[in-house]
Structures are given as C-alpha cells and as structure tokens.
Amino acid sequence: MYHKLEVKNLSAWFNEKQVLKDVSISFPSNNVTAIIGPSGCGKTTFIRCLNRMHELVPGARVQGKVLLDGRDVYRDMDAMEVRRKVGMVFQKPNPFPNMSIFENVVAGLKLLGVRDKKVLSERVETKLKEVGLWEEVKDDLRKSGAMLSGGQQQRLCIARALAVDPEVLLMDEPTSSLDPASTAKIESLIRELKEKTTIVIITHNVQQAARISDFTGFLYLGSLVEFGETKKIFESPKNPLTERYVTGRFG
C-alpha cells in the first residue's frame, strides 16, 4: 500500500502550549482517512500542519516531518508549492464574494495569470461536473459565488480546490454547517473523489467517519490513540479510550 502522505513524529505548539504530541500517521493513496476526536484534541491543528497553514499563526511552531511522495514538506518544498499540491476545504463555505461562479472555480489559475479562455472554460465545466454542480449552475456562471445555497457554495469551494489538481485534499469538517441533504451529496462526492485524490477528512461526527472513510485515526489531547481500517476501528477497536469515544461514552 503506497502512502501518499506520511507524518512522522509531528508536534505543534501555539507559543508555549503544545497541541500535538509526537503524532505519526501514514495516509494511503486514493483512500479517505478520517481523523476523529473530541473538541480540542488537535485535529484542526493537525491538518493545518499538513498544508503549512499552522505556521501562519504568530507564535506557532512545528516539529517533525511531513512527507509528500517522500519529499519533506517543510524542508524540501516551498510553502506555496505545498498548498497547491495539498488543497483544503473549510468548515464554513468561503467562496470569493466579488467573483462569479466561473471565476471562483478557476481562481487558482486565473489569479496566477492563466488567460486562455478555452482552458479556463473546460476546467470550469469539468470541475463543476465532478462536484455535481454543473447542471444546477451552468446557465448562469456569471452569477456571484455568494448567491448559492450553503450546500452549493461548499461544492463550489470543493471545485475551486480541485481546479488546481491537488494530490491530497484536506477537508476540515466540510459538512458540519450544512443540512442533511447537502451533507449526503457531499459524502457521496467524497467517495467518488478518492479515485483521483487522497483525502483526509476531519469530522466530529463518528457516524460520518464510519460512513465514508477507509481508514480512521483517533486523536485525543494531541496524541494519536489508535489508527486503523475503519471497519476494524468501528467493529472492535483495540484501545479502550477509542471504544469509549466511538460508543459515545464521552464527547
């Protein structure tokens, strides 16, 4: 099993406070890996270390290795290159409000100077189709991105992240602000996306992790408690702490 992304002994701090303690996880390619754990366990900090966004906070510090295809994301790569290859979708949909749907999808290209109309149009159509939004918006791509419903906006943000062809897609609780129908659409989308990308999803909803992930990691107070195939973790976890968490014995 090839591991697209490998995290080795990752620790992270906000000033003096240590939020991640020596976490090591390997993410298998073209699979969905879920990271679960109670609030404050360090899940969000963890994925922000994967695309080098944690370091943007003043006073933030990182130690350890994050390897993308064997290359050290901190030492061998430039931050922007990392972020192009490791995309991110956030909890609250955040389309650019001053841009149309079209411009939003290809923002990652257009803002860097790509002008070829044909290339851009193709990319818009392809990506909107991938996220299942094409039929709903194809007649009015010039409409502002902010005028869509919550679920549509989130799919637009996913399309935008996919437009730069990332190799890994990080998703920070992507459906927690959406209604059940939109959530179901996006979960179904995630199952399809893994064929092309490796996906890491953070969720506080264990049922969601059970539904869509192939592998699951349980983080608690900054440490990795258990990691394994989702089937196994949810059928018979090895660690009693994991057992207590997935059976809802503690939030």
Binding site: M80, E81, R83, N94, N98, L111
Partner: protein, 277 residues
C-alpha cells in the same frame, strides 16, 4: 403625568429640537448661495475668462479648469500614496512598533492645519523655484488626501474576513496576489468612497492654494505656473467690493457647493448599494 414620563418627554423634545436646528444653518447657507449665486450662472460664466476689474461680463472657466487640474494632480499623488500606505498597514506591517509609528504619523498629518501644509509647500517648493506653481498646490493637497485614503483602504482591507484570506492561501497563491487580487479587490468599494470623499474635501481647501497656486486671470499656462481655482477666485472676488465680481463669487460658490454635494451623495448611494465590506 408623573415626573418620569415628563422627564422622558423633555429629553426627547430637547434632542429632537437641537438636531433639527442643526439643519437650519445648512439650509440657510444653501438657500443663500442658491439665491445669490443663480443670477451669475449663464453660458458665459462657464466658458469665458474673467473680464478685467471694473468691467462686466466674463466668466470663471479658467478657475473651473484650474480646480479640476489641481485636484487631478493632487489625486494622482495622494490617492496612490494613501492606498499603498493603507495596504501596507493592513497586510504587511508585522512589527507593532512600525505599525504604530506609521499610524501615528498619518493621524498627526491629518491633524495638521491645512494652512500650515500650504506654508510648508510654499517653503520647500515655491521658494525653491522662485514662483508660485500649481505643482506645490498639488503637493500640499496630496498631503491632505493621504490620511483619509489610507484609513479607508486599511479599514476596507481589514474588514475582509479571515476565511476569505484562508481560502486564497490554501490555493497556494503568493501573498502579493492575495493582497492585490483578492483582498484589495474586495475592499475596492471602501477605497473608492474614501478617495471620492477626499476629492470632495480638497475641493474646499483654500488656504494651501493661497501659498502655492495663487491665482491667474488666464487659462492654465502649465502645471509649473500659478493657476486659477474656484476657491481662490471666491476669496478674491468676494473681497473685491465690485458688485459684478461679488455676484460671480456667489456663482462660483454655488458651483463648488454643487460639486461637493454631488460627490457626497454619490458616495452615499454607492455605499448603500454595495453594503457588505
């Protein structure tokens, strides 16, 4: 009626009365200007050069053009500098001390009386080149424009939510692209209103012009020459004692007032439309 209700009513009545009273001087001024200025307005007023002292006829065309030219030059200097400073303060000044230094400087600059800025321009430009020049006026007025434009830019950019910036960062865009093409692009509205307001502001400044562009009874000869302006024309003509000129001063006042009111109304309309940032 018990005393509590009476007090309530009293406070209400007093504040309403005072607030409405504030509108009175404004309405009075506008009425005065309109009544006294309207007689001066005609085709010749807008298209002709001033007639010599004592003669009737003539117009203020050179002053209109001059004001526009001076304002344009000031804007060309003041707005870019204000915008760049605003961008820097919002996005790039990491060190708190540098930020405070610049912030204090700009706030202080805003507090300097315009006549002193005019005197400053006089000293370093007019005295150097040996004659009055519109360039010095542009310099002085630019200094007046920088603080409000900078503030509007900075506030506009700061009000762009962090989620938007994060989305741009996560796409792997370089900082300058995010700053200019995403954040600034969203803050555009704020920058435009700030610029328009400062344009209206300098249209009313007279003191600096007296030390720099002074006046001229002819068409603007060049930017490095004295230049006519509506503000100075009003000053000169109103004090002249010559009825014809006094009327023209009122006409110019009316014109200036209209320009400033129009800009302010435009700004308010644009702000309402854009809402948001």
């Amino acid at each position: 009626m018990d005393s509590r209700k009476a007090k309530e009513l009293l406070v209400r009545a007093v504040t309403t009365f005072v607030s409405l009273s504030v509108a009175i001087p404004l309405l009075w001024i506008v009425a005065d200007v309109v009544i006294k200025g309207l007689p001066a307005i005609n085709f010749e007023f807008f298209t002709s050069l001033p007639a010599p002292f004592g003669e009737t006829g003539g117009g203020v065309a050179n002053a209109v053009l001059g004001t526009l030219v001076i304002n344009a030059m000031s804007s060309l200097i003041g707005i870019p500098l204000g915008v760049l400073t605003g961008i820097y303060q919002s996005e790039y000044s990491g060190d708190k001390r540098i930020y405070s230094l610049i912030r204090t400087s700009i706030d202080s600059l805003a507090g300097v009386p315009s006549i002193i800025l005019g005197l400053f321009a006089f000293t370093i430009i007019v005295m150097r080149v040996g004659h009055y020049t519109a360039l010095a006026a542009a310099f002085a007025l630019a200094l007046i424009m920088i603080p409000p434009v900078s503030k509007a830019t900075e506030e506009g950019m700061r009000s762009v939510p962090i989620e938007i910036r994060e989305a741009a960062i996560a796409l792997g865009l370089p900082k300058w692209v995010i700053t200019l093409k995403v954040v600034f692009s969203i803050a555009k509205g704020s920058v435009i209103t700030g610029s328009l307001l400062s344009f209206a502001r300098i249209s009313g400044e007279t003191a600096p012009l007296l030390f720099t562009s002074l006046f001229s009874y002819y068409w603007p000869a060049g930017i490095n020459e004295p230049m006519a302006s509506l503000q100075v024309l009003i000053y000169n003509y109103a004090m002249s004692g010559f009825g014809e000129w006094v009327t023209k001063a009122w006409g110019a006042s009316l014109l200036l007032l209209l320009i400033v009111l129009m800009i302010n109304t435009l700004v308010r309309a644009v702000s309402k439309n854009k809402g948001g940032y």
